[in-house]
């Protein structure tokens, strides 16, 4: 078993190394670099472009080097904890991310929690009382949740909030707290802003977890071991939770890994609409302006989360399912 874990861990490191190369190449794929878009910006605002200065900047950032040398330079700095500088913000990438990662993690984990707390019980109930009113209502809501684009729901909720409560739901803080230091009032203000992003980002996830839970529990309920357990004289609720629900959770456990980055990147559009200071929104802006170190770090951050998440959910699955443990 520990050999399996060690092997999985090595694979994970290997995958991460490959992903760093892929991330770097992807960022380099669009024609031009940050300086081309910088020159364009200067020209459109009517300023003159000094060729010598551009050349100096290009050399300073190493943009004149061949691709593989640029990569080696970049990765050797990252290993030492230097993620480069944002051309756009003119600040270290690490500093930009340090601001955004806590907020992103907060929103994501809260969304994940709310998703499971709502979706799993409803999914279980829908399966046990298949074709009941609750099952039908849950099904309709979950299909709406799956089919409606997040940004649309975000806009609708923001509009409703403004009209009904006169509350501006955009951003994570009201303007007066945006740059204020942390205080109880700021915290309460944040709590007021949190529900809408959580609902919007969590809706489609809730819907799909609900469907997965319902389907996988329906499969389990048909199996003989449920009947055998019932023939022992167990109470219905204890039986349900101890046997079929326990087994039916496996597909959900195995997807926790890719739900996490899914929430981060999937929330990008929502984050832009709701003006949330998350990593997704930062990455989007960096990609547009070819702010390569920021973009590459964000892409790497998301892929690493996926790889780590998958590793963690494999470990979790091993813990809950003995059939995998003793493979």
């Amino acid at each position: 078993m520990s050999r399996y874990v060690a092997r999985r861990f090595l694979y994970m490191i290997f995958t991460m190394a490959i992903m760093s190369v892929v991330a770097f190449i992807i960022i380099q794929l669009p024609p031009g670099d940050y300086l081309t878009s910088y020159i364009m910006q200067l020209q459109t605002s009517g300023q003159t472009v000094d060729a010598a200065q551009i050349e100096m900047l290009r050399r300073q950032y190493g943009l004149d080097l061949p691709l593989h040398e640029q990569y080696l330079l970049w990765i050797s700095k990252i290993v030492r904890g230097n993620f480069g500088i944002s051309f756009d913000y003119n600040r270290p990438v690490l500093e930009l991310l340090a601001q955004r990662i806590p907020i992103t993690v907060l929103i994501s984990s809260l969304t994940l929690l709310v998703t499971y707390v709502i979706a799993i019980p409803i999914g279980v109930y829908s399966a046990v009382r298949q074709y009941s009113i609750v099952d039908y209502v849950g099904t309709v809501i979950s299909f709406i949740g799956l089919a409606t684009p997040n940004f649309l729901i975000a806009l609708i909720l923001m509009y409703a909030c403004q009209r009904l409560f006169g509350f501006n739901a955009s951003g994570l803080f009201s303007p007066e707290y945006a740059n204020a230091p942390w205080s109880l009032a700021k915290f309460i203000d944040m709590l007021k802003h949190l529900p809408i992003p959580v609902i919007v980002i969590g809706l489609s996830g809730t819907a799909s977890v609900m469907r997965v839970m319902r389907a996988s529990l329906l499969d389990e309920l048909k199996l003989e071991y449920v009947e055998a357990a019932r023939a022992k004289g167990l109470k219905e609720l204890a039986l349900l939770l101890r046997y079929p629900v326990r087994v039916a959770l496996n597909p959900i456990v195995s997807t926790i890994g890719w739900v996490l980055p899914g929430i981060l990147s999937g929330a990008t559009v929502t984050a832009i609409v709701l003006d949330l200071p998350t990593v997704g929104a930062l990455m989007y802006r960096a990609l547009l302006s070819q702010d390569m170190y920021v973009a590459a770090t964000c892409v790497m951050f998301l892929t690493f989360l996926t790889v780590i998440g998958t590793f963690l959910s494999d470990l979790l699955l091993m813990w809950v399912d003995p059939r995998i443990r003793y493979e």
Binding site: E224, E227, A228, A229, R230, A231, K232, E236, D321, P322
Partner: protein
């Protein structure tokens, strides 16, 4: 005649489907004495499994017991009608696993894949026999030893997928018998196993039956197995008992055309050489069945205007030998 343990009278279990009413069990009666084995034999779909599940209140929706009674003589001397109990109520749960246990056809699929067999056996013990976890563990290991598991202390921690089918069925038997039930319902317990393992499991069950002094309801489609285990046999076809007798008598003198067909379709019993004499056709699905003998469509001796016009009564043609067939209707009918 010994003391009655279970008496089933006119049991009807129907499934209300969109296509109509599926009469899976349609007026089944039988009696099991303490310590005796009743075999129920029939093809798939004849209602034998639904009969077994009706006794324990395990019939899944949309199935429902709609008539008849299942009188069970409990250990404390009281008699309860299991057909009237709430299938999720306390009383039936107190009987399940403690006074009536059940083992199933697919041993590996009848055990939870994510719990050790030790956990699953002790669970039954903790429900019915003791509150003490240590004692439950000891009883469970002792049971595993008695069902012939080598290294029971190690097997206690095994998961079903680590054991062979035969070992899983032994674990299942240990789980079913750990509370010393008065009745064991065995629903095709050896069908999914190899022939050699089959014989071992049957011997084990008979041995434990003697030790515990329990009765058995043994469901199978295998006449060979029935002849080994059963004191009495009920032959079922399309939700009804069509023949009911002591095992020796049924094997000496089968009377119902369906029972005769079953014997003839067995290689060992078949008189003719060459091709086996299979019963032609398939078991019909009893959705809104017409008032006729269920076997009339496949019976070589069917009489037009008689067999397809009414349901024959179960009549006692000789002492303790009952047949549901118009060919034997001159004899006295039992109501």
């Amino acid at each position: 005649m010994g003391a009655t343990l279970l008496e089933v009278n006119g049991l009807k279990t129907y499934f209300h489907l969109e296509e109509g009413v599926l009469k899976a069990v349609d007026g089944v009666s039988f009696r099991i004495e303490r310590g005796k084995v009743l075999g129920i034999i029939g093809e798939s779909g004849c209602g034998k499994s639904v009969t077994a599940r009706s006794i324990l209140g395990l019939v899944a929706r949309p199935g429902k017991i709609v008539g008849g009674e299942i009188l069970f003589h409990r250990a404390d001397g009281s008699v309860v009608d299991l057909a009237r109990l709430d299938p999720q109520g306390d009383e039936i749960r107190d009987i399940r696993g403690k006074e009536i246990s059940m083992i199933f056809q697919e041993p590996r699929r009848s055990l939870s894949p994510v719990h050790t067999i030790g956990e699953q056996i002790t669970e039954a013990l903790l429900l019915h026999r003791t509150q003490d976890h240590k004692e439950a563990r000891e009883i469970a290991i002792d049971m595993l030893r008695r069902v012939g598991m080598s290294n029971p202390e190690v097997r206690f921690h095994s998961y079903p997928h680590q054991l062979s089918g035969g070992m899983c069925q032994r674990a299942m038997i240990a789980m079913a018998l750990c509370c010393r039930p008065a009745l064991l319902i065995a629903d095709e317990p050896t069908t999914a196993l190899d022939v050699t393992v089959q014989a071992q499991i049957i011997d084990l069950m008979l041995e434990l039956k003697e030790q515990i002094g329990m009765a058995m309801l043994y469901i199978t489609h295998d006449l060979g197995v029935i002849s080994e285990v059963a004191d009495e046999v009920a032959v079922m076809y399309l939700g009804r008992v069509v023949e009911y007798a002591k095992t020796e008598r049924l094997f000496e003198n089968p009377l119902h055309p369906y029972t005769i067909g079953l014997f003839n379709s067995l290689p060992a019993f078949s008189s003719a050489k060459g091709r086996l004499q299979a019963i032609p056709g398939n078991v019909p699905i009893p959705i809104d069945p017409p008032p006729a003998c269920g076997f009339a469509t496949r019976c070589s001796k069917a009489m037009a205007g008689v067999c397809d016009a009414a349901v024959p009564e179960l009549v006692e043609v000789e002492e303790e030998h009952y047949v549901r067939c118009f060919l034997h209707h001159e004899e006295r009918a039992v109501s």
